[in-house]
């Protein structure tokens, strides 16, 4: 069975709580709304920051939407409107991600969640014994820098989720060896890869995004498609994100082999960009390569029968 991925969604960190975005267009026309990053509160900077650069933005990772807020306030809001949600989850330890997923899955509204995305560009912390038998947590770079860590994280996530729920791993310009990390993530249980052209910039924890990085995004899609064709990475659908803000960009990514597209800072430029990109892909032919395996919407969760949520 081919894996379903939503064709066009907002990118993590660019859609508020989802409700703000609803002011600019009908969320129901989208295959799904991406909500997040969701996680355990604390840790990150108090707020996102944005520094404009030529045809781009440098962003600092936004604080997470606390999972309790998501469960108590947001999932019910989406469910009441019949909207499908992909939850983007961020955590710096396997425990934090597992815990977040556990709480999401216990939500009475989990049926509205049609997918989970795990952010591998996020910083990872390693706990080690410290003075007095206590443990301390040290930052050790991004998840995606360590394929073994990617595998473990995805395996832990897979375990917490219904067997047939879409689980996608997001990695990008921060990743030293995207093919190795992607292989590990799929080995761990990811059923789709989100490839982001965001590249580290300015200082640690900051990323360059926007139209400026579109060629980086296309490069990642091309590289991973080639790795899949060569059998170096299992055959999963690819979702492209990074600078794909117009019809031409979306179609270029699509024909390079992306089954889905996310729109990030393009939504900040003009929220209606999301719907324009959606419309551009709505009648695009299936991706040129491995078309049968990745036809988007080939089997939607509904057709496949609702997953065994909560």
């Amino acid at each position: 069975m081919s894996t379903w991925v939503p064709r066009v969604t907002p990118a993590a960190g660019c859609a508020g709580s989802g409700r703000e975005l609803a002011r600019f267009g009908d969320l129901a026309v989208l295959d799904a709304v991406l909500l997040g990053p969701v996680g355990l509160p604390g840790g990150a900077a108090p707020r996102s920051t944005l520094a404009p650069s030529p045809s781009g933005l440098v962003h600092r990772q936004a604080p997470v939407l606390p999972v309790d807020h998501v469960v108590d306030d947001l999932l019910p809001w989406f469910r009441a409107r019949g909207l499908r949600v992909v939850c983007a989850v961020r955590g710096s330890t396997v425990g934090a991600v597992s815990d977040t997923l556990q709480r999401l899955r216990r939500s009475l509204d989990f049926a509205t969640v049609v997918g989970v995305e795990i952010d591998l560009a996020a910083g990872r912390e390693e706990t080690r014994p410290a003075i007095g038998g206590l443990t301390s947590a040290d930052p050790v770079g991004s998840w995606s820098a360590d394929p073994q860590a990617c595998l473990k994280l995805l395996a832990a996530a897979r375990e917490r989720l219904p067997r047939d729920l879409l689980l996608q791993a997001k990695l990008g310009g921060e990743c030293p060896q995207p093919v190795a990390a992607a292989r590990a993530a799929v080995g761990g249980g990811a059923r789709a890869l989100v490839l982001s052209g965001a590249v580290p910039a300015l200082t640690a924890d900051q990323f360059l995004v926007g139209p400026a990085v579109a060629p980086v995004t296309l490069g990642l899609v091309t590289t991973l498609r080639a790795a899949i064709a060569a059998g170096r990475v299992p055959d999963v659908p690819l979702v492209a994100v990074g600078g794909l803000h117009d019809r031409a960009g979306a179609l270029a990514a699509h024909s390079a082999g992306a089954a889905g597209i996310q729109v990030g800072s393009g939504i900040l430029s003009d929220p209606e960009t999301l719907w324009r990109v959606h419309d551009a892909l709505a009648d695009a032919p299936p991706p040129t390569r491995d078309a049968t395996a990745h036809r988007t919407g080939a089997t939607t969760p509904d057709e496949a029968g609702d997953h065994d949520g909560h």
Partner: protein, 261 residues
């Protein structure tokens, strides 16, 4: 938060005039459903092809004529990439919650910074119309950057000039000497924090902007999270408020201003 549609609408620039260090744009839009209020802002598309973020501008006046549409007055930074009179300009808004007016005539202090002075002046005029006594504090980093003091003086009971550093003392002295029962601030978050602290010290009400229209690095649409401020009370969503959606005008005593200025 309501999910009322908030669409960009095509407007026409009917005037683009210099105003001191700034430009004053008049833009005609289809008639607004509800009148605009001081404290609201508009969002305009990015100025140039190499820019990603839209621009946010304070609204500094509005009038609606039946059958003609609504004219917004916008006093904006003179960036050199503004549409000329006769050109089209798409705008979203006026966005957000404006300043609330007291129901009884009281004495008010309105502090506004730089380009936001025009919105502060408009608020002052509204307060005077409502019977209040109004003292304006125009805050600017540079004497050139006070907005239209002639018009400001006409519409207020007093106008006081200072810079960001001196604003705390000026507002505190003025609030004390005039017995003001409400302090308003329009402009950068640092000014809002200052005014909220003065209000707290004097045990009076403050209404302040939680976001600085015109600053770089903002989306204005409620999507990026850059404008988020922590709340004093922990009850609302993640103890944060998103001023471009839930504001920009906030009660000064609700926000945790730690770190500002």
């Amino acid at each position: 938060m309501s999910t009322t549609q908030l669409r960009r609408r095509e407007g026409e620039v009917v005037a683009n005039r210099p105003l001191g260090a700034y430009r004053q744009l008049s833009v005609v839009l289809p008639a607004l459903g509800v009148p605009a209020r001081p404290g609201q802002f508009v969002v305009a598309p990015p100025a140039r092809a190499d820019q990603v973020l839209p621009r946010t501008w304070w609204v500094s006046g509005e009038h609606t004529e039946a059958g003609f549409g609504s004219t917004l007055e916008l006093v904006v930074p003179d960036t050199g990439v503004l549409p000329a009179a006769g050109e089209g300009l798409a705008l979203t808004g006026p966005v957000g919650r404006g300043f609330g007016l007291p129901t009884t005539p009281v004495t008010a202090v309105v502090a506004a910074h730089g380009v936001a002075g025009a919105a502060g002046r408009w608020l002052g005029e509204r307060l005077r119309t409502a019977g209040c006594t109004v003292h304006l504090v125009s805050v600017a980093d540079d004497p050139e950057q006070h907005v239209d003091l002639v018009r400001a003086r006409r519409g207020a009971d007093g106008v006081h000039l200072t810079d960001l550093r001196g604003s705390e003392d000026t507002v505190a002295a003025l609030a004390g000497s005039t017995g003001a029962s409400v302090l308003y601030a329009v402009g950068p978050v640092d000014l809002s924090a200052t005014v909220a602290r003065v209000a707290a010290a004097l045990a009076v009400v403050s209404q302040v902007t939680g976001l600085e229209a015109g600053a770089s690095g903002l989306c204005g649409y409620g999507l990026c999270g850059t404008c988020d401020l922590p709340l004093v009370t922990g009850r609302r969503r993640g103890t944060r408020v998103r001023p471009c959606v839930d504001g920009p005008v906030l009660r000064g005593d609700l926000v945790d201003w730690a770190g500002h200025p």
